[in-house]
Amino acid sequence: MKQRDFLIVGGGVVGMAVAYGLARAGQGVTVLDESDDALRASRGNAGLVWVQGKGVGMPRYAELSLESAKAWADFAGELTERTGIELEYEQRGGVDLCLDAEEARSRQADYAELQNASRYMAANFRWEYLDREALTSCLPGLGETIPGGTWSPHDGQCNPLYLLRALYAASRALGVETRPATPVERLEATAGGFRATTPQGQFTAERVILAAGLGARQLASGLGLTAAVRPVRGQVLVTERRPPGGRLPTPQIRQTASGGYLIGDTHEDAGLDKGVTLAMMQSLAEKAVRIYPDLEAARLVRSWGALRVMTPDGHPLYETSTTHPGAYNLNCHSGITLAAFHAEGLAEAIRDDRLEQSFPHFSGARLHVSAS
């Protein structure tokens, strides 16, 4: 068999977006994925295509998020055209709620600082602080005790599960081989490329991309790549379907296209435990009812915990190995917003082997410097 151009380790939304981009550019790609019950950030996230709050402290990340959000409509349209799968994408703007006055103050300070630091953000990032009164037109029924929030027209939402499905369908139609239940136990360089050892046998390719989320902790260092990622648990509640509320999405709560409300935005260090806790579920339910009192009667149908993948500074990692040329490491916790970029600019940079040159801010070097 002809050696593939790329092995991608990880069949989540990051790995599949890059697989899709590479396949579209004519590359032969095999994706090695873990079993159905593995830790999966891609199946647990909230589905926001979101610019607000990204890259505070790292303007280049904010710029990348805004660029990707702007490219999302075309990206979604192309995937739907290829697969017939609707991603339920919409960009009608979004609101990041401030639950108290202090949050309102610090949020505005953060955004002002970001725009001071980046000319691109100053020119292109539109946002506004709206008090409760002003918010009620875009968040009808907003609870009395919510002081306000920041609104931005760039923010939107999609169905992240249908995004993942569309990436699978489109990639497979382009010849990408996806191998489920094929966890990589060992990765090593060979004379002509790389070899992955799995319980299902060995796979080889000229180049290898780690898009393994938390799996990077086991696999990265052997190829001279950064293994320092940690899980941050988020818990999410979903209600039964409700009548359309005409409410803009927020990171705290959004109504999905099917009608259910998705309630989340918790951050905990819980190791690899992706469970849900009664205390957190109750606090989420209280928060939801505080934001939209009419949800008191809504039945909860599902809940889950999922592990965000956090790099040491929280910003994306796009890394090329210096010790093992042809090995790359991709890790970030905003794989939905950045999916349009991952399928386009990032996949091209990897194909042309110019990741460090094109995206120097996101290389692993920044982490090693700060660690030493």
Partner: protein, 99 residues
């Protein structure tokens, strides 16, 4: 529809419930879903989120097909809620609140 056998074994108190605005007397041993099946049958029980008509399947809290509005609260599991004197029951014919 379902009918009560006239040879019932234990004398049973009846309660008055309101179904879609009309008063009815039913055995107090019934759950809401059972009462509706006795009073109106399975036709018109509920309209599902996909627009299709649905009615109770399991009567034991598993299938969620018996959702119904009880005392103003939508989407209660009719098969788990015992009837009570004065209870107001409304079938969810298809506006909002479909499960």
């Amino acid at each position: 529809m379902f009918q009560r056998l006239d040879t019932a074994a234990t004398p049973t108190r009846h309660v008055q419930v309101w179904l879609d605005g009309e008063p009815h007397r039913v055995a107090e041993t019934l759950t809401v879903a059972a009462a509706v099946l006795q009073l109106r049958g399975w036709q018109g029980y509920r309209r599902h989120v996909d627009g299709t008509p649905r009615a109770p399947l399991c009567m034991m809290g598993v299938c969620q097909e018996c959702l119904i509005t009880i005392d103003g609260c939508a989407n209660r599991q009719g098969c788990l809620e015992p009837v009570a004197e004065g209870m107001r029951i409304e079938r969810q014919g298809g506006d909002i609140h479909d499960g």
